[in-house]
Symmetry: C2
Subunit: 460 residues, 2 copies
Amino acid sequence: MLVKIIQPEIIELIEKRDFATLKEVVADWQPVEIADLIVDLPTVQDQIILLRLLPQATSAAVFEYLALDIQKSLLKSLGNQDVATILNGMSPDDRTALLEELPAKMTKLALSLLSTEERQVAVSLLGYPEHSVGRLMTPEFIATTPSWTVQQVLDFVRENGKDSETLNVLYVVDEKGRLIDDIRIREFLVAPLNHLVRDLMDDSFVHLLVDDDREKALGVFKKYDRTVLPVTDNGGILIGIVTVDDMLDVAEKEATEDIQKIGAVESLDEPYSTIPLLSMIKKRAGWLSILFIGEMFTASAMGFFEHQINKAVVLALFVPLIISSGGNSGSQASTLVIRALSLGEIKLKDWFFVVRREFSSGLILGCILATLGFLRILIWQSISNIYGDHWLLVAVTVGFSLIGVVMWGTLMGAVLPLILRRLGFDPATSSAPFVATLVDVTGLIIYFTVAILVMRGTLL
Amino acid sequence: MLVKIIQPEIIELIEKRDFATLKEVVADWQPVEIADLIVDLPTVQDQIILLRLLPQATSAAVFEYLALDIQKSLLKSLGNQDVATILNGMSPDDRTALLEELPAKMTKLALSLLSTEERQVAVSLLGYPEHSVGRLMTPEFIATTPSWTVQQVLDFVRENGKDSETLNVLYVVDEKGRLIDDIRIREFLVAPLNHLVRDLMDDSFVHLLVDDDREKALGVFKKYDRTVLPVTDNGGILIGIVTVDDMLDVAEKEATEDIQKIGAVESLDEPYSTIPLLSMIKKRAGWLSILFIGEMFTASAMGFFEHQINKAVVLALFVPLIISSGGNSGSQASTLVIRALSLGEIKLKDWFFVVRREFSSGLILGCILATLGFLRILIWQSISNIYGDHWLLVAVTVGFSLIGVVMWGTLMGAVLPLILRRLGFDPATSSAPFVATLVDVTGLIIYFTVAILVMRGTLL
């Protein structure tokens, strides 16, 4: 990997305000390297100085490699002239990603600084729904027609290819602009020059619709192993392309959303390091309060068995152990099922397969924990007689309760995501609280019911 | 998106055993479409019949699009002759992915069926460590030297490009085969034909080392927005390329690992739908038992306060509510911090930033839950007098305990992943059990300590 090891010299140049030398030094750097340097600079002022030293074309390319939050802070501090240069030079898909993050007022200002042509492009891309393919699209592609020769196509590319986002795939459209084929550049490169585009066509292509959800687009990229896909409107007209590098970002964002939802946080939609404290607390307080209100039922359940606790306080000692075991086995099962659903490894129609598997898993896991619990009571008792004369009843109660609670937790954890998906909810969002509450409350009921059955006539 | 809607006709052809027509029908299909059809066939026998109908080159291409588990089941049932055709025709990176999944005995057989040349390639790729770039690499690329003209390069590509995995980027090597530059095909397409490769070079390139971890490779792809990256050995010799479509799989696998670890399961490394039941139970039983043994301390903590519970059974009623609140706030915080660490949004050196944030978050979230808890007791009490004369003391105890427990849970949830990372452990793997146990046990201590302070001289 490429690493520039002249950082200290650069810092020195900036400290000495020797911008002429600095300009020379970075002249043969790659945009991504200059972007790295900008990130490392201590103040926004220095960042702006460096950015303004660059040739116009380079500054936009460098800017594209910066993270969104740095882009935002730079835009605020740059003069309108510089903002105009950068925004007009950015590729449309990266620009859309930036514009949709800006506050409405700044987006308006930014749009007003664009050239008429670029503004039309920017406004039309921003018009597509959030998380849609339209927001990821760039209209810079190469389209050919079936009647051209390979030589004509290559000449056309030589003259017009500079602006295209990618040249890996060229598209074939009919006279109305409708997409009729995609042909990889390699086909043109290995074909005789006098062949026609028509001869290379296989009349088969994969495309995205502009209103498709980005998660669907990700699935298409994965399935067909493409680096770029064409985007059409509902009439089949080719209006843009989406490249796979944007899909890596989509995959990461979707995974983050899933992870945060499983951890019972609304998806932050912003990096942990930059989201304002109050926004983050808002995202957390909602679910935490719902979980809390759900868990209040545990107090009611405990109240229902207050009489039993009063008679055998020893029962209370194992309450946290019992309900946490149910909770843990439930969260294992729901994590596995949620991820398998989201990867398409299992479908709703596989519900019976899931139930059978989790029934067996729950039974075996429950027996393992029951054994551990039983041993624990046996050992403690033989050391200290802590559980009194009826220790065996306590051990039997805890053991059987653990089997029941773990089986119940495992089954609920596996089935609830399926039910939620069936009802049209996102299984990741809503499972954790439901599973936790349901399993804790029913875990208590299972435990005390087993206790009453086992201890009737003795302790209870 | 491309969808074949002639499925019923196909099924009919197979049922009628009309393979001649079937062969004609699929003749102009894309490999990925035929792969889809194979997946939909009801029996392995039918799948094999269809696969054997295809021309040799097509069958390998179709096979590459099948999921690993289907590939495995087909290999077991195909004759050696067919296996040889398919394996020799597959691209080396996909073949490596398959071979590393096979049982050792089948891998040996498979290798023996390869041609001498392909076997050398396969054995050398399998020699790289698991999860390394070498395992993802294919040796099929195009290398040029600085002295060639653009015309020479394009002619060379036309003659030799058919086997290359991608033509999007060509590589420049020196006389010893060391990588000295990468040039995108677009540069050749837009350059005058008599220019030299040397004229297009910028002497700057990004590459991967063959022993690099796949997660590192993913980071490089994301940072530099590449669709393909060259791979060199430690001496700088160009030995292969890795394409971005493999990175989408890597991103998905890494996210799945993280998610499963957060859900306190060892990473399954196999789809939920195909992993044998006992293997899955093994992956779950380990953490579940560790969590359970950790949670046994809650029984000890409860035992320590048995005297207090005996005197005021009302205290026991809120135990599940209190510890689940600590657990939930802890899992929120640890989920956020683990994901932010894995995305590089925060680093170890930001620990103080994290502590400050989570201290404030914990305090505010704790106050919210305390208010809810207080209100709940107030309302229940005014309806039913369930908590007796000292209900206010109970409400105050629960309220203050919630503030303490939620703050403690939030702080521990945030800090433990950082500490584990600092000690060299994977924060995702080990956080959940530590946080859960620590927060539950200390939550009980906080609760009963607050109770003793508030209720001394009255209830206790």
